[in-house]
Symmetry: C4
Subunit: 235 residues, 4 copies
Amino acid sequence: MLTELKREAYEANLALPRHGLTHFTFGNASALDRARGIFAIKPSGVPFEKLRPADMVLIDLTGKKIEGKLAPSSDTPTHRRLYLAFKQIGGIVHTHSCHATAFAQAGRAIPNLGTTHADYFFGEIPVTRKLTSAEISGDAYEWETGNVIVERFLKDSLAPLDLPGILVNRHAPFTWHTSVAQAVEIAVAVEYLAHMTFLSLQLDPRLKPIEPALSAKHFSRKHGPAAYYGQASSR
Amino acid sequence: MLTELKREAYEANLALPRHGLTHFTFGNASALDRARGIFAIKPSGVPFEKLRPADMVLIDLTGKKIEGKLAPSSDTPTHRRLYLAFKQIGGIVHTHSCHATAFAQAGRAIPNLGTTHADYFFGEIPVTRKLTSAEISGDAYEWETGNVIVERFLKDSLAPLDLPGILVNRHAPFTWHTSVAQAVEIAVAVEYLAHMTFLSLQLDPRLKPIEPALSAKHFSRKHGPAAYYGQASSR
Amino acid sequence: MLTELKREAYEANLALPRHGLTHFTFGNASALDRARGIFAIKPSGVPFEKLRPADMVLIDLTGKKIEGKLAPSSDTPTHRRLYLAFKQIGGIVHTHSCHATAFAQAGRAIPNLGTTHADYFFGEIPVTRKLTSAEISGDAYEWETGNVIVERFLKDSLAPLDLPGILVNRHAPFTWHTSVAQAVEIAVAVEYLAHMTFLSLQLDPRLKPIEPALSAKHFSRKHGPAAYYGQASSR
Amino acid sequence: MLTELKREAYEANLALPRHGLTHFTFGNASALDRARGIFAIKPSGVPFEKLRPADMVLIDLTGKKIEGKLAPSSDTPTHRRLYLAFKQIGGIVHTHSCHATAFAQAGRAIPNLGTTHADYFFGEIPVTRKLTSAEISGDAYEWETGNVIVERFLKDSLAPLDLPGILVNRHAPFTWHTSVAQAVEIAVAVEYLAHMTFLSLQLDPRLKPIEPALSAKHFSRKHGPAAYYGQASSR
């Protein structure tokens, strides 16, 4: 069942090593059918070059496995937590991409220092608080990982499609969007933004974020009702 | 019409991802027929791998679309502004290449620290001032982006072929030359110079630019009446 | 004899340049048959592209050459020293990979700053003391290189499979595991961890290691009796 | 004439972009027939992908062109100066490789921080003094570039095969060895050493060079009468 959904998730998972975002079995992507409340996710620990579309595991939003011979990604509860909290999203990507993970390891948000950033994120790429020892050591570590992401968005009333990604403190980035293909594009952008911003901060550690007008201009140029970037037919 | 001009612009646009200067739909190149006052430019938001020569949009120097089914790049007014101000140029390239954009985000010119730089630029690669909120939020943001470039050149009486590129503050580099193929080569050079100069400044943040004699020697070795680099037939 | 062991060692040696871990004749890998006390190792100074499985040299744990027309890697005594001391290991890899070697040159351990690290190493990647002039200049330099590795593990009662690699001070990394294929994966991970950790330390030179609970969680998620990462059949 | 010499120079020139050491028309390599006093060098300003073996230009050690339709590299006088001063060398390579050039631009020698370095250079990779304005602006700029290299070696009685390369201040590296193929390998090593050493110095700007015993051990392991690295037949 849901052959097309599994194919979307499969294609997104294969895109991760192709974009240099992940190695070996690291990283995973999932695609959600919101109407049915079922998502397709990568099986755990299978090398990307051995994946087939039929290997994708189907899970419903209560956490029950619907279809699949293999165990799903160990990060499945994190994906489920995000799908439950962020009603607008249809795909999630998790990587350990080099520069973005370096910011996560340092516990630092990625500030909005230029128009490339503003094209994708309406503000800094946030970072979660650290998990507590109890959250880490309990039986629901991956669910708690989702919880600290949701908590960060609730705390400042952030909008998941204005800020389609986050850094989990000491861990790595998660990205999302209306489709998993777009979540992959955001994951590529997060790594590229992390790289450029790292370099800019080395040149000047006290750089301030760009002006609100510039941030608003570039985000609205690509997203929302006033968008004029790209072809009208594809907006 | 202008099939050859469209092909030149097309080839230049394809060269950008091949040189690692751009991803997804970022970046654009245009080629001008100065006699007719018409330039060919990339359509907006089309992925590089889907471009065809016939997709290039023809625009005249008053800003009117002459031919093309697709909407032109949203940066078209910036290109037009530069063609109007810099009479010697025939091609323009815009990228968000990693190291050059890092300097732009930091609002810093790229100083002339060695002979590689001096082979391409007769002095530092300048940076514009920031745009004002009014310039950003009005209807002519991309035209104003061209304006701050021209303003920077007028302010210090800079010569566009001595300094065939600039960093737009908080944004990214633009390069140009007599042909769009040469503008691509300058765009590659700007990224490479930004990378090397970043590293040199990490080794010694107080490095001074090279001596004027060395700058003049290398620039004149490759450009102008006393050039002796390359084959006489191709100078 | 031991055709399969030689093939394993051969495949591991070829994987090193493919993963960008080594150039020219640098780096080497060996595979041990613990029951027979014989290991297969790369011949010295042969470029990777010219290697054949039959070129692997067989050496026993007393240091005697058992089979092979070519001289074994000059680092053979280091491998032998490690096989004698670490009873659980079946494969060793030595590279001069860029970021890991940069830490070795600086005489610094690679601190555990995130979950990517914790997936592979249960604690920091240690660094040896420097060799003394006598150890360097004597006839057993490569054996002494093995000795300082073993000494570092004995000093703090470290477990070779909890910390499957080390940096030799002023030199470069060695990694190991139960099989040489896994030692290659660790070598890739060490380079990647060194790169990310370098970046994190540039962002904040005073970063502290991750909390013990997080380190334990990620290591035990992948290794040992409570592992739940990957498919049960392949654990 | 000298078909084999031209082929050697040609192969070395092609190796430069393949190793990522150069772009466009930057960089050049030459091979010397010491008995005849003639060297084959790349023509000036020809892109690497268009080079053919027959394009190599033959120059004798008095500077006279012996054969070739094209103008030789503008750096030809630098090559000639080095062949005259360093009697043991048979090939020279010049690149603007990224990390090595960053050190040259900063006017800094590359210190010997590890055994990878010690395998190739018996001490730091030196840097020349800056050229004077008179040396730069006169008719013999490229010859004077060779002169400051030779001057640096004479000043400290350095041996060209112990230190088979140098950084020209504000410019870029030159390397050499008994054959041009080996000079290419040194050029690759210089770039790799510059990259690793840059990273080590970022981790600790006050790092001291390695101990003389370690430097001597690694250099003599690969070079000279006591060498035991590689196969006896190929030493």
